[in-house]
Each structure stands twice: as C-alpha cells, then as structure tokens.
Symmetry: C2
Subunit: 489 residues, 2 copies
Amino acid sequence: MKSIVEQLDPIFKPKSIAVIGASNHRTKWGFRMINRPLRTGYRGAVYPVNRQGEQINHLPSYKSILDIPEAVDLAVITLPAPQIPGVMKECVDKGVKGVVLITAGFAEVGREGKILEDKVVSIARKGGIRFVGPNCMGIWSRAGMLSLSFDKAPLAGPIAFVSQSGTFGVSLSEIAGTKGYGLSKFISIGNQGDLDAADYLEYLASDEETKVLVFYIEGFKDGKRFMNLAREVVKQKPIVIYKAGRTSAGSKATQSHTASLAGSDEIFDAVCRQAGLIRVHETLHAFDVAEVLASQPLPPGRRVAILGSGGQGVVTADACASLGLEVPDLDGDTVRSLMAGLPPHAPRPNNPVDFAGSARTGLEEAAVVEKLLKCDYIDGVISNVPINPAAWSDMFGFSGLPKPLLDLTKIAVEGADYFCSLPAKYGKPVITTRFRRVDHDMVIDILKGAGIPVCDTPEEAARAMHALVQYANIRKKAQSRKAITEGRG
Amino acid sequence: MKSIVEQLDPIFKPKSIAVIGASNHRTKWGFRMINRPLRTGYRGAVYPVNRQGEQINHLPSYKSILDIPEAVDLAVITLPAPQIPGVMKECVDKGVKGVVLITAGFAEVGREGKILEDKVVSIARKGGIRFVGPNCMGIWSRAGMLSLSFDKAPLAGPIAFVSQSGTFGVSLSEIAGTKGYGLSKFISIGNQGDLDAADYLEYLASDEETKVLVFYIEGFKDGKRFMNLAREVVKQKPIVIYKAGRTSAGSKATQSHTASLAGSDEIFDAVCRQAGLIRVHETLHAFDVAEVLASQPLPPGRRVAILGSGGQGVVTADACASLGLEVPDLDGDTVRSLMAGLPPHAPRPNNPVDFAGSARTGLEEAAVVEKLLKCDYIDGVISNVPINPAAWSDMFGFSGLPKPLLDLTKIAVEGADYFCSLPAKYGKPVITTRFRRVDHDMVIDILKGAGIPVCDTPEEAARAMHALVQYANIRKKAQSRKAITEGRG
C-alpha cells in the first residue's frame, strides 16, 4: 500500500494537470481552474478537457481526459454533480493519480447528494484515486506552485492552512496575507468525501515546507483518528485549531453549512488539551500565533520580560498576566547593569523596562533585550520594535553621537541585526510590537526577514508568547510520556 | 466663574500660540512644537520664545513671552522642570489663557517633583491659567487644526481620545489611523497636575465634533467626580474606556509609569456598569467599537441577523452568541421571500443567511439585508461587505444579466448606495465584515464614506454590535432613571 506522501504528492506536486470542464467563460470555475495555475506560476503541463473540444485560453483542449496523449497526475473537475461518477471512471481509466473535485451538490444538499457522493468515493477508491472535496474551493501548494484557490499566489511561508470552509478560508488567507503571513499550503477540504482532515494532517506532518498547521474545523469526519494522529504530530510541529460552532447559534449554522455536528465545546476543549492542540477563539488569532510558532525558539518556562515605553509596557504586562504568564521582578545586578545604560533622570528599571524616551537607537534597545535574555529566570522577551533612528531622527536626540555626519541608516541596520541575532543566541523567544511610525519602517522589514515576529498590538504579542509557552509544555509532556514508556519497555 | 468651554477653548482652538523653549535643533521638543503646527495646517500666529532670541524655523523669536507684542492664547512649554515656576509666572503676567506643559520631571519622579508640580499648579490657578500636563505628549485638536503630538495630522473623525500614556497613546492613535479611524481630539493628559480626566470629559461632552469619547486610563485623580460626570455624559455620547493595570503585574507597572494606584479590577468593573461606561479589554478594541458607536443607529434589542457566506456566517454567529447576543430563527414569510431571490439549488435560508456563492451583485445582498431589517424581531444586521461585481467578475457569474455590455462599476455603486441607505431607513445598525479581495475595493470606500463600519473580522463586527447593544441599554437605563425621578418630582 502506498504511503500518504505517495498518495498526496501527485495532488500537491503534480507534473501535469487536466481541468475537466474547462471553459473560456471568465465567469465559470472551468475558466478559473485553467487561468489561476497559468497566472500564478504553475510549471507543469495543463490540459483543458471540454466536450466542445474548443481551444481554452490558447491551449488545445481534449473532448475526454482519455484523449490526452501524455500522463496526467492531477485532474481538477468542475462539471455538474450528476456527471461526476462517469468522469471519475474516466479518470481511473486514464490512470490519474489524484483529483480535486470542486463541484457542489453532494452530501451538503441532503440524502440524494450523499448517495451520489458515496458512489463517487467508491469508484475512486476502487481505482486507486485519492481526492480533495467535493464542494470545495481547491488548493494552493507552494511546492507545486499550484493555485486553484487564489487569483494571486499568496505570500510563501511556513503555515499550512486546512479549512472546512472554502470561501471563508480563502478570505481568511487573504486577510492573513495583508498581515504578512505566508502559506505553504491551503486546502479547502469541502465535504471530505474521500480525503479528510486526518489525512491532510498526516501528509503535512512530513511536508518539509510546513512548520505549523492551522485548522479551521466545523466538525470532524473521524475525530478520534485525527486526535490520535495529532498527538504524534505535535511532537514535531505545532497544530493550531479554530473550532467553529462552539455556541448553539454557531452550531446550528454549521449544520446547514457543512452538515457538521459541532458537539460540546467543553469536551472539545478537553480533547484539544489531551492531544496537545493549541486552540484559539478568534479566527485571525490562529495565524497570529502560527507565525510566531513557526519562527521562535520555545521558552523554557512562562516568565516574560518586557521592554516597552510607558503605557505599552503596562498593557503588555496586563495582557501577559491575564493569560497566566509571569512578569518577574528583575534582580539587583541586572537593574544596576541596565541603569548604567540609561540617563540619570530615567526611572529605576524594572519589569517592564521603560526607556522613558531615553533610548536613541535600536542598538541600545537590543543591548537591554540581551541583558534580559541573560537572566536565568527570564524565558522570553516582548519588546517594542527597536528604534529606527533614521525615521525617528526628529523624535530622539543624538547629541551624544559623533558629529557632523551620522549615518543613521547604518546605525538602524546594525541595531536591527543585533536585535535579530538574540533569539538564536540565547535559545529564547523574542517578540516585538509595532510602535509609532507604523507606515514606513525599514527596521520592521529587517525583523520580519529575520523571522522576528512584529505584532500590531501588545495583546497580540502576549497571545503569541502564551502560545509558545503552551507548545513548549505540549512538547515537554510528550517527551515525558515517551520517557515513561521507554522506562517501562 | 468661567465655564469649562471658556477655560479650555483657548487650548484647543487657540488664535495664537507661543512655544517657550523653541529651538532649531531638529532633535528637541522645542523644535517639534514649532514644526508640527506649521506642518500640519495650524492657521493662527506662532511665536517662538527662546533665550538666545535667534530666528526659529524662519520665524522671529522673542527672549521672553512678555516681549511678544500681540495677545497669546496658548503657551506650549518645553523648558526643563526647574524653570517652569518662573515661566508660568511670566505666562500669567502676559495674560496667557492656557498652557500645554510638555516638560517631565515632576510628580512622576518622586516627592521633590511633586512639590515642584504643586508650586506650578498654584501659580497657574492664582493666575487663571488652566494647563495640560506636565509630563505629556501634547494635544491634537481638529477644530484648532493644531497638532503638538503628531508629525502628520491624523485622519479627522468623530473620536476624542484621552490618554494617560503619552507615547503609547500616540502610537495607538497612529495604529488606529491605519485602520481608518479618525480623531476629533487627542489629549495626552500626563500627570494631570491641573486639568484631569474629568475636566476633559466635561469639555468633550459639549464638543460638537466629538461623537464618542475613548479613555486610556491607568488611575484616576478624582474617580468619583469622573464617574458622576460620566453618568450624565453617556445620556448624550458613549464613553469607551480601557483601564490599564487590571492585573497585579500591570498594576505594579502603572505605579512606576504614572504613579497611579490601579485598584481592584472587579470594583472598577462594577463602577463602569453603574456609570454606563463601555469597558474594553484590548486597547485597539476601544477604537473598533468607538468607530461603530459614532456612526450607527442604536439597536432596539440584542437580536442579530447575519448575512455571510458559509464559515463566515458560522463564525459571526458564534462570536455574537458568545457575547450574549441572540441570533433568532427567521419566520416562514421571510424565508420564503428570501428564497424567491435565490437560485433553486441554494440551501433554505436561515440565520445566518448563506448565499452559497449565488449572490452576484451588492444589489442582491442589499435586498436581503433590507428584508432582514424589516423583521420586527431583528434589531441589527451583520453582513459581509456587499459584492463589487467589477472586482469579482471572475468569481461570480452574470449569465442572467443583459448582454453584451454590463457596466459593472455602475452596478457596484448602485448596490453599495442601496446598502448604505438601509440603517437610516430602518433605524437599526448595519455592520459589515471585509470579505475577499481585501486590497482593492471601491465598494469599501463607498461604505466607509457613508459611515457603514467595515470590520476586518467577524469577531470585530460582533464586538461592535455588542457595544451598540450595551450603549442602547445604557441610554434606556438613563431614561428610565430620569422618568422615575420626574415621576417622583
């Protein structure tokens, strides 16, 4: 029997695709499924299949997939539901390895649809074809440079997003993209007629370009299998989940949307804790925390140091403490060492450390962050984005710096580079929060390029730190389970 | 005795300002306080005051404020703390009406600073001067076109933001600006040596361009007076408050930041409820809800109808229900009326209403929203942003529309205009959520121009609707209190 990688690679890294139901009508899925791959950089062969046999998007088309002279890895099907059993048979005969079945009108519309869906599944299984859908919005695969879901290729990144909602999943991906979050895969799983959330979980576990998995789920097809797999996967990669239908109003809505039974929210919470899933309660938070989980070292504990001007430090401390993180006092030596770098009028540094407007370059701020990371009772740091003196030149004084000419850009780059070197050096996470001058900051680009998270608000930074602490605990628990098992064996 | 308006108008609408401590050094506050008003459109006279008497920013300067031949409404002071008592005396002698005291080094640095601050307050009070600060980041006043806090004038809008944290307050204003929220006033209240949060509350209550008040507070100078005033003000304008220092970690941080004692969070919660303040627990949420409170009619109750594709509707329903809003089932007549506008394959509409990809123009969506608003058991609607067929032309079909030429932009504008007319027509709020194509949507500009809120996520929309319901209840309670009092009288 083929491994899950052998089964799904033809879907996510196809050498060739056929679009069955290809169309020149810009308004139809059959057009989009040809147009999107061509526009977004897919490099394999694209074969339109169309009853009329007309040219599609300047490509020669075929009346049946069986007429294509070359091998076809992936068939994308957009024809109406009643035609799908026949089409699936042709795919089997052609030796197609995988299918993305966009077509709606199956289990989600009722009993007859369910019978039709079962028939299609049975044909595919007998013929050795795995398929995505039906009733889905397709996939995006960075490895395959294949976009069936997006008109523009999304930002490339380490997050695989598996969504039970198609349109909302695409929408959420796009909104996450405006925050700078990149995707390795997007999978609109639809009705999960054949492949289900657990299959994708298993596949993504060994997907090299995926570092974090995000799931939007309304209801599981086989929740037990998913959770058992998840328990193994989280030893290597974090899994973030948003579960829709957690209230009775939402639950009722999932039934008409994907015919999912939402189940008790408390039970789901307990199941997530047991399996080691990181659960979020706002959709966009899933991406906020995934981005940080993908880039930062795991904190040894839950003790956070904060560098933030005035109210920003206060709000960060509040947000951390309300999530159960600790904000410990600094020891005397560290305080004295920090004071040496501050002007005499600055208040005695504590946690949060408040520069009180006296920091002038990111170098000075990075030095503070380094002193905090050195403390063995500090497990991670949340800091404002380090100062870009080139942008801040009219906000802060430079009277102490050599005159007449200051290369402020060079100082900014040095400060940012120093700052970016710290998480790896100390094996502890550093998360930053946007601060002033939000619209033009070279320093932010440097941070993001180096994988330092830049959050919009202190609360977002605290949530991300909390997710890191959660995941560190999940990993520790898994290791101690392993140690106990080995000790017994 | 002068009214609060007479006292504070010279600060927020000054005909002339003097900057005491004016400087040509780009890195100093004395430069910024000259430069910002000039750059951001202040139209009154600007008089630099500078011991050296040198030209500042090409303006003639004066060695003392007493040398200025014309009247001065507002003095902005940036000189070091020890000089302030003398300078304040000169302001009194000059007949200055208001002062913004930027200078730090007063009560926030300890006992000696407090003594110095008291001295300055005493001089100002005897001389009939009210002042902002000390230890503050200045103000922005839309009415006065006066920016002391921002390098660029912020977006103009209906929100007055009063912040006990200077730098963070400015930062938060800028981040709110990137979300499209506009300000009528920004006040960095600093140590509240003279004017305090309650004074600004009283002033803003009658400020015509302010529709909503947002407070970032670490600790009150006179909490009782603030709350008594608030109870009156909320009859006319909503007040949104973020209280910092709600955990012990945050509370400790407020003490070193603004020497504020944060007090018990539970008591504060109860006090807010009593006074009718809308409390938020994330800083940026204050602006999210303020923007909606400023623009939408108040809902008669807490029953929400939702129009949102698939998962978006589910998540909105969940978010509403978890905040205590109701998402009632639709009645048979409404369902039948909605079905008439949907294609035969669409699922039976309920709440949330799911177009299942069948809506093609904003006109069709606006028609659904109107049918929902007509229901006497629906108090408000959350909808996705109506479709812009010009941008969505390859996503949705137009086979039913007249050929060969469709003016899609015209259809988009008609749909958006129809949509925008609905809240006023039915006296119920309509809130939208961004959906797909986030980067180029003319429809979003039309909505925002018409005061229809456009939220980034379903959760943000639900929070905004919840704040409207809260404020509607606050107003009802105030009216019934009034009725009881009058009945007794």
